[in-house]
Symmetry: C2
Subunit: 414 residues, 2 copies
């Protein structure tokens, strides 16, 4: 079953907001064998929205829109939908009650604009939005369905999962099922990996396909399968997935699609080890990535963001002489930070970074992008100096993933 996603809003076209709804929708429908055919992003413009919806109905039976349902004048999706599906607008008492309840829960006053959320297209079936004021609108035409959802990611996520998708699943049964298996490898380039896997890739039967998804320091390998039903697909997927697994075993760091921090945590928890961080240039991002993972408190004890030299000395016990002799961005200091964090936080493993994320602060000897990383563990310390390029954001992100990968290497070697 294929669907089209149309994201509506000038804020998306001018790059002030990034669309995350279509990715969420894709991941949510995939397990049922549903796929996004294509996604379109259009502005708050009646002709463009209408054109996108009419074209979408030529390709897919289900069209999902997000955005443009708010109470302000720039949100024009509701009148546009009246134009497409016929009929005028009506006042919906049940939506008004829902809006009142949501506003009361948020401790906000009702006003005329909020009340206008209850003005809905006559042609729409209303699905109550339990987490926001804009109602979800469902339209049908010649066996095809359009569902208009809010642009706020949290509301769309909550309501699509709990209400919209279950209704669509009752109405449409898919004639193909799909499956995906992801393996994550580290330590070789995409092209070397592709050369290594050329024979495997050539051997794939129809309906199976291999995709390479490189991310800094790692490559995600995704085996995609399509078939009429799971009885046909699953044995094929199992057999080729296990062949793929053994082909890449040497570089494998995870056999499912997980963030790098979640892979580290899994290896730590498997070995009943705890972890701590000591971050200078990554500024808390390593700790943030680790603590984003549900259940991370099982291994994560805490960390220090030692932006100033005083913080390195007072919280991590790095000696002032060491900093004076080698500079804060140096292997001796980053190793002392890792050892200090291990000790102060009582952790088995500690990850430390010290570097120059830019745009200022670079010198000829230590240009912007120079980042020292150390991982201290029960059997010793390993460290390295990275030479990264790009913006501050990119240097922080790259240094974070390299440090997490280094920690995975250190933990799996224990």
């Amino acid at each position: 079953m294929k669907v089209t996603v149309i994201c509506i809003g000038d804020e998306l076209l001018i790059g002030q907001v990034i669309d995350t709804n279509s990715g969420f929708l894709a991941r949510t429908i995939a397990p049922e064998g549903w796929e996004i055919d294509h996604t379109e992003i259009v502005g708050d413009n009646a002709a463009d929205i209408t054109d996108a919806i009419e074209r979408a109905f030529m390709r897919t039976d289900v069209v999902l829109t997000t955005g443009g349902l708010g109470p302000t004048a720039d949100d024009i999706t509701k009148p546009v939908l009246c134009g497409i599906f016929g009929g005028g607008m009506r006042f919906d008492k049940s939506t008004e009650r829902n809006v009142e309840e949501i506003m009361r829960r948020r401790g906000r006053e009702m006003n005329e604009l909020t009340r206008a959320q209850a003005i809905v297209p006559e042609a729409a079936t209303i699905i109550r939005n339990s987490v926001g004021t804009a109602p979800i609108l469902m339209f049908e035409r010649e066996g095809k369905t359009l569902v208009a959802m809010p642009g706020v990611p949290f509301e769309t996520q909550e309501m699509f999962t709990s209400e919209v998708f279950p209704r669509l699943l009752r109405k449409y049964t898919s004639d193909t099922v799909t499956a995906h298996r992801t393996f994550i490898v580290a330590g070789l380039s995409e092209s070397n990996l592709a050369t290594h896997l050329a024979d495997f890739e050539a051997s794939l039967p129809e309906g199976l396909h291999l995709a390479y998804l490189p991310r800094p320091g790692i490559i995600r390998l995704r085996l995609d399968g399509h078939a009429p039903d799971h009885a046909t697909l699953d044995p094929f997927m199992d057999s080729y997935a296990s062949r793929l697994r053994s082909e890449v075993e040497h570089w494998l760091i995870a056999d499912e699609d997980l963030p790098t921090a979640a892979i580290l945590l899994r290896h730590l928890i498997d070995r009943r080890l705890t972890v701590a961080t000591a971050e200078s240039c990554t500024g808390g991002n390593i700790a943030h990535e680790i603590t984003l993972v549900p259940g991370s408190s099982e291994a994560m004890l805490g960390g220090v963001v030692s932006y100033s030299n005083e913080a390195k000395q007072n919280l991590l016990g790095v000696s002032g002489e060491l900093i004076a002799a080698h500079g804060a961005v140096s292997i001796p200091v980053v190793e002392a930070m890792a050892s200090g964090a291990r000790k102060t936080l009582g952790a088995d493993v500690a990850i430390a970074t010290s570097g120059i994320a830019g745009p200022g602060g670079g010198t000829p000897e230590k240009p912007v992008g120079t980042v020292c990383v150390a991982v201290a563990g029960p059997t010793g310390i390993c460290s390295t100096t990275l030479h990264l390029t790009g913006t501050r954001d990119r240097i922080i992100t790259r240094a974070t993933s390299e440090a997490l990968l280094m920690a995975i290497g250190a933990v799996t070697a224990l």
Copy 2:
């Protein structure tokens, strides 16, 4: 001048990768009065890519594609472009030399797959990619231009800014200019703000438009203007922007589009104050948001991620009795964390959080989403308990922005 963006890749349609290129392109072209007409995301499928490109040329003279140029078998954009613009493929020696140089810089070996990056459509003008192996391909047809760029955000960002956009600007002159002014307000709902601004909005002349962009805890108000030239537009924009500014002055926290952490830093640096963090449930995200801002070291001294109770005691001096009496997620403990961070790190202002981000760890008295926040400053401490909903990720993000907003409130009140 309007352009269409087409993002190519199955990984985008299945939600494994989020498109950030189109947002970057939009922000980069906006100052020159260029705009994205619409963005389309299509899979690695020849018919869909061809269809999207042909339709794009019916609407805009410039089409930008990202993705699908890699060296692996799932990247099919190059043969598809041969189909559209005619001609076959050729081997480009200058691209081969560039690939060799990039691989040498990365310390990787050349192989046949990497070398295949040098096989390019005959119809394309080649733009050397100085930061990656896939060349940028520029095609022309009947006065219209298509530029195919890699999907890797860093490469597209670097090459679009330095090479592609300057070439497009020389070729096409825009017949309208645009301008945007953004004001950020906090402390009232979108609908109350819209009611307050109804008269202002009704008074806007043609070519000026007001957009509401709510984010957790704040609303960004964006005044958009279009006119034939800057001499016409700028005085209008200045006058209406200054009227808008005075309309929202009471709730204004920034008069340009900045991340919340950057707004806090600006207020801190204006007052020559330093800041530190003590994070439990936000796990380093507040420190990360602050240190993402270039120049943050002017005010940011560091922070502690005190995930375990031991870390709260050892690094922040929170007494074990206090934790035992009130629990780690409590106003007394979060206030002690803030005071402790202020003292340990020697900062003027400290921001602390302690809460339950879930999915586990909730109790009937303190359910998932309960987050205590405190800001300690030279004149005292303020604190509050948030009751947030949603996923772990959302609770961490919301708690981070609420804590930063509370700190802005505390700092501006000094």
